[in-house]
């Protein structure tokens, strides 16, 4: 070994010694911790996350994505609480996680403001206190438009214990609420829906309460009108006539015709009702659009098409058409109780385009409700959409109104999704906009098992007493066998 090499070696040794043990060891430790922190800071900027929940609680659907992508105005979502004080097991932590997805879009900002420490912010946001904001609400703001979202807007809950007021959340409406709110506040024009209320119809304050809330969430403005003594305001876009108990007056039909002529839309929904009135005025209005209400009640004989035990609670099938296209894939069942058929008249009118939306099975029987109406067997339409190309007016006629009645949605909640989807799609079509919203509520996944009490106690007892004992016994045997080696 040459002198130079030896020197080099000694230096190398000294360096390694210093690095490993000397004062430099502290530097090595500190710098390794710094590297650790750096790596994790970088990792936390990479927001790559996979949502593993069966419900997709932390994912946003295609519709939300397209709405967020197409936002032209800046929308801010304010959470009115200190997000650092939300524990992981708090329901709101799910919303915070979901909002991170929203925040990733350019035109959406998510901020958390503690209203207790920032009173000024609250006063600026809502000087007249009309929004009724409180702590733990969310406010979606775009320019002058604001929408407040509360706990019950995010979660579907039921009272688990009436004595303690315990509430159990069974599903999340967070995506629907947030996207709707964003869509709502950022819309240039608001479509106004007016419920006709002169004939005991279903309206937003009676029978259609739940579904009306969904309309609101979807950015519609809701109102009521008595067509007989009120004139239709300019802002009205859609008039809904749901299950009137008496025929319309000629004046009302006249107003509707004028309304339609101006390019607006009317949505008529009628269950089968056994009354003496044949609703001739309404029928004459419908006649202009080549459609008529059938004087019958649909009874299904195909077991796949009716609710078990009630042949009048039918499941009509969706017909593929322009109107239905957005919901045609992945459509769940729509339940139409006490429905009537819709007839399409064979009168030549090139200005009208008619699209049937719902159809019953081949085995259907239409029971005439008047003596002069004969029974009829075979498939029948339950809903039809008509467009008048001259005025761009749209008419939607449905032979069922109670499919989204509050009472039905409560009693048959499993068909809620289908009904809401169908209804919202219809409104969106009537509204004439392409940005439809079909964000379903995400029901919390319940991993229920089928087990008898006896089985549960046998298995549970084994797991609590048997299995640990077996493991301990194995340990004891090993110990005893080795002890005297």
């Amino acid at each position: 070994m040459t002198e130079k090499n030896t020197n080099y070696d000694v230096k190398k040794i000294e360096r390694s010694r210093k690095l490993k043990y000397g004062s430099n060891a502290i530097i090595v430790m500190i710098s390794s911790i710094v590297v650790f922190v750096m790596i994790n800071l970088i990792a936390s900027w990479i927001t790559f996350e996979v949502d593993l929940t069966p419900e997709g609680l932390y994912s946003i659907g295609d519709q939300t994505k397209s709405i967020l992508e197409n936002l032209t105005k800046e929308v801010t979502v304010y959470g009115l609480f200190d997000e650092t004080k939300i524990a992981d097991d708090n329901s709101y932590s799910k919303i915070i996680d979901l909002l991170k997805k929203y925040n990733a879009y350019d035109n959406v900002k998510v901020e958390y403001v503690n209203p207790n420490t920032n009173v000024e912010f609250m006063n600026n946001l809502d000087p007249d206190n009309v929004l009724g904001m409180t702590t733990n609400n969310f406010v979606v703001v775009c320019g002058d438009y604001k929408k407040v979202l509360k706990y019950y807007d995010f979660f579907e809950s039921y009272a688990s214990d009436y004595n303690t007021f315990g509430v159990v959340d069974v599903g999340s409406k967070a995506e629907l609420s947030l996207t709707s709110a964003i869509n709502y506040v950022s819309r240039d024009e608001r479509t106004t829906i007016l419920f006709s209320n002169g004939h005991d119809e279903f309206t937003d304050d009676y029978d259609y309460i739940a579904v009306s809330e969904k309309f609101t969430l979807n950015g519609f403005k809701i109102g009521r009108i008595n067509l007989y003594n009120e004139s239709i305001p300019d802002e009205a876009d859609i008039i809904v006539i749901a299950n009137p108990t008496s025929d319309l007056y000629p004046e009302e039909v006249k107003k509707l015709k004028e309304f339609m002529a101006a390019g607006n839309s009317v949505y008529v929904l009628m269950d089968c009702m056994i009354t003496n009135d044949r609703f001739t005025n309404l029928q004459s209005f419908l006649y202009d659009y080549n459609v008529q209400l059938g004087y019958d009640k649909i009874k299904e004989y195909d077991t796949d098409f009716y609710l078990e035990g009630n042949q009048y609670y039918i499941f009509p099938e969706l017909i593929r058409s322009d109107v239905n296209e957005p919901i045609y894939e992945n459509f769940t069942k729509l339940m139409a109780p006490n429905a009537r058929s819709i007839n399409i008249l064979r009168i030549l009118n090139n200005n009208l385009s008619i699209q049937p939306l719902l159809i019953t099975s081949e085995k259907t029987k239409l029971e005439g409700i008047y003596d002069d109406i004969k029974d009829f067997s075979g498939a029948a339409y339950v809903a039809v959409a008509v467009t008048d190309s001259t005025t761009n007016a749209k008419l939607l006629l449905s032979g069922t109104a109670s499919f989204m009645q509050d009472q039905i949605l409560i009693n048959y909640s499993q068909y809620d999704a289908g009904a809401t989807k169908f209804m919202l799609n219809n409104l969106n079509w009537l509204e004439g906009e392409t940005s439809e919203m079909f964000i379903e509520q995400k029901d919390f996944f319940v991993n229920s098992i089928i087990i008898t009490t006896k089985q549960a106690n046998t298995v549970g007892g084994f797991l609590v007493y048997g299995l640990p004992s077996l493991i301990l016994l194995a340990g004891l045997i090993v110990y005893l066998r080795r002890r005297h080696l």
């Binding site: 004080k85 087990i451 089985q455 110990y479």
Partner: protein, 234 residues
């Protein structure tokens, strides 16, 4: 590395310690699981979340002897003078404790299997939770290994790691009530809150990286600690 791991695994399973720990852990899970069976509920994911908490009690006992015993018995000399690097020795020790933990984890799969047998579902969320559990176990055990390297008294080693893990847990619960910057930092640091991201159904890149790099840095510091002790003590 594998030689050391193999010996330690043998040592665990040839003495009653591994069996007692596994039995205890299984007993705890079973106690939580039985009422779920009675209520026909197959949500094991929440128990998996609790299992992270059980580890706070199990891991210190599992790891207390892993390096402290060698120092006390003088077998440290044998390991250090064998042609293996210190890092491989520490890694081997870690692998051994981790293997016992793996056995616990594998046995705990019996519960999801029972759920599936009784027509429940094994969700991807649960699989993700298990991934988190495996990573959390690694991080916890690395803390135990570091504690065991810091003293030759096993009891003290167990107490150190127990306190460290408990502080981690308290930090997580505190973070929500403290809030603010401190709360955010606590949540960021806390292994438990990182783990809860998995159990609530998110597979996050940042969480995976954090738990793995945490384990790595603690094992690295363990090696440095032992080297430093060799330098300053006789």
């Amino acid at each position: 590395m594998w030689t050391v791991a193999k010996r330690e695994i043998g040592s665990y399973f040839k003495s009653p310690i591994a069996y007692v720990l596994i039995g205890l852990f299984i007993l705890l899970i079973s106690i939580f699981f039985w009422p779920r069976l009675q209520g026909s509920r197959g949500d094991f994911i929440s128990i998996l979340g609790d299992m992270g908490f059980f580890l706070i009690f199990i891991v210190p006992i599992l790891t207390m002897k892993i390096l402290a015993e060698d120092r006390k018995n003088g077998t440290e000399v044998l390991l250090m003078t064998s042609p293996t690097s210190l890092f491989k020795i520490v890694l081997g020790k870690f692998i051994a404790a981790y293997t016992v933990f793996l056995v616990i984890t594998i046995i705990s799969l019996i519960y999801p299997i029972i759920i599936v047998i009784f027509s429940g579902a094994f969700t991807i969320q649960l699989a993700g939770g298990y991934l988190g559990f495996l990573l959390l176990g690694g991080a916890f055990i690395s803390i135990g290994v570091l504690a065991s390297a810091s003293t030759e008294n096993q009891i003290i080693a167990a107490i150190i790691s127990f306190v460290a893990l408990l502080v981690m847990w308290v930090a997580d619960t505190l973070s929500a009530s403290v809030g603010g910057v401190v709360g955010t930092v606590l949540t960021w640091i806390s292994l438990i809150s990182r783990y809860q991201v998995f159990t609530k159904g998110i597979l996050g890149f940042a969480e995976v990286i954090y738990l793995i790099s945490f384990t790595a840095i603690i094992l690295f510091l363990t090696v440095r600690l032992i080297e430093r002790r060799r330098w300053t003590q006789g």
